[in-house]
Amino acid sequence: MPRIRTAAVATILFVPVVAGGFLLQRQPRSSGAVLLTQVMSLVSSQYVDTLPSTAIYEKAASGLVKDLDDPYSELLSPTASEEFDRQTNGRYGGTGMLIGEDSPGVVAVERVFPNTPADAAGVREGDHIVSVDKHATEALPLGKVSDLLRGEPGSRVTVTYTRAGVPEPITLQFVRRVVHVPAVAYTAVFGNHIGYIPLQTFNENTAEEVDAAVAALEREGAKGLVLDMRDNGGGIVEQALETSSLFLHEGQEIVSVRSRNQPTEVERATGKHLALDIPLVVLVNGGSASATEIVAGALQDHDRALVIGTNTFGKGLVQSLYQLDGGYHLKMTTGKWYTPSGRSIHRPRKLLPNGDFVVVPPDSSSTDSVARPAYRSDAGRVVYGGGGIHPDVVVADDTLSTTERGFLRAIAPQGQAINTVLQDYALELQHQVARDFAPPAAWTTELMRRLSAAKITIDPKYYAEAREFLTRDLVSRVARLAFGDAAAKTRRLGDDRQLETAISLLEHSATQAQLLAEAPVPAR
């Protein structure tokens, strides 16, 4: 019994000692989390300027994403998220104009889209916007002017313009409507029944619009198709898959995506397949990126399209878009994609503070002289991995002659005034022409007279180039205003060697196999 008592007493004494020891222990830390909270606490309480707590959290989160050193991962603010959403959605509330800066502080209407409030109100291309809802545009960045013009469908916005030849400013009130952002702005038929589809982005409308374009061109009797994805910077992956599916057989692989902690996802053609036999050329260049490269890579690997142009950008990564609280979105690289033959076309890059991308050296694919990994298409053709989709037929971008470049440099300071003269004259001429019009010599004479009257001086050594160059521009403007983009593109076909090559090869090929056989051996 005494032993039991002794044990009880010892226990009673021991418990508080141990408990005290626990309490005395220094608080253990999860070092990373404590570091973050300590820094945030110090910035919040001691930084020389006051920062709202929300700003501190946002900066911390944004800094983390930036420090990943991945140029494609980004924390989107609520405003940036809205813009991103607008671009991917393919529709927004607004007036239906494309605006740009003619010169710093001068906001010009570059395009008025049909069936929009701007079109209905009679806004003209070349008009200058001087105020939006009493906000002078002179002091605003272009993006802010766009923001002011956009808004809820049904809401009103008042815009004041100046127009060349009209002494007083013009004030118009618009009721904003849903404006459609086209993925396929127009279609055209060139040469001997060759259909042309310029695909400029992968937004929510893309597959539907490509589907409609192909169907319309086939109805018009197209015997070959050109899918022009030059300068298409990509977009929604699902749209790239649907667009590829249109040209592939059910079940054919389009792309495989390898992510962390997930099995490889293999995406296959499914749904609608409507253009399985018609010979197809895909046009690409250095501005073709990402989702565009998924489509070009799949069609090249399955020998479904002949790829013409120049090497593509080389972005073989997929980002996932996560919706966060407070309107934020996290766009984060979560996977690397591979074409059906197993190639990655990714070329590592860094993003400079000015927004430019630079290739991270050493880049084994930056020059054609460096070996790129070779793969085989379904038919056994050699296709290359490494940086970007390498075209089956390399056709360099059109470049201006030395004289033309010199002329353009010389007239650059007078660009806005020249633009105004050209646009005004084109607006007058658009009602005087038939679809197959040939520009009379009198147009050039009158154009040069108007330029002179507007006190625009042209160096005599460039006079011949000026007459030819500016007349071509005038004819293209007249054709577009009178008959649309397709007519204008037809008029400028001679300036597009890549498209001319595509048309020429398609005109000589009844089948895709013949088209591939027509192509020269790919250059490396």
Binding site: V9, I12, V17, A33, Q46, A183, G235, V237, A291
Partner: protein, 120 residues
């Protein structure tokens, strides 16, 4: 036997009182020194208490920190069984949401702005 129980009860009461006093003595010095200062460039600045409360610090920061510390303490003393990847010290333990959200969309883009598209 009765006497023995009474004796034990008396001793027990005395021990409890002694233990409580002992514990109080041990715990008292545990608080951080709020007067601690460092000399910084340009003058003398008070150093905010790292573990304690800082009036200027946002409430949620303090709350998160306290929770994290308690959880870390429990974890280090082996009193909590954590699911795989959820143990203190894992990158996700204190800062990430409990459930990884599903992506709303997959994108592969360099820029979305189309050259011939309305922007206003």
């Amino acid at each position: 036997m009765t006497r023995s129980l009474q004796t034990t009860a008396r001793r027990l009461a005395a021990c409890v009182a002694l233990s409580a006093a002992f514990t109080a003595v041990i715990v008292t010095p545990g608080s951080a020194d709020p007067t601690h200062r460092i000399v910084g460039y340009g003058g003398v600045l008070p150093l905010p208490v790292a573990h304690g409360t800082s009036a200027a610090a946002p409430t949620s920061i303090r709350g998160d920190r306290a929770l994290a510390q308690r959880r870390d303490a429990r974890g280090e003393h082996g009193r909590v069984l954590y699911a795989s990847g959820r143990a203190p010290g894992a990158a996700t333990d204190t800062t990430s949401p409990r459930h990884t959200p599903c992506p709303a969309q997959r994108v592969a883009e360099l820029r979305l702005r189309a050259s011939m598209a309305p922007n206003s």
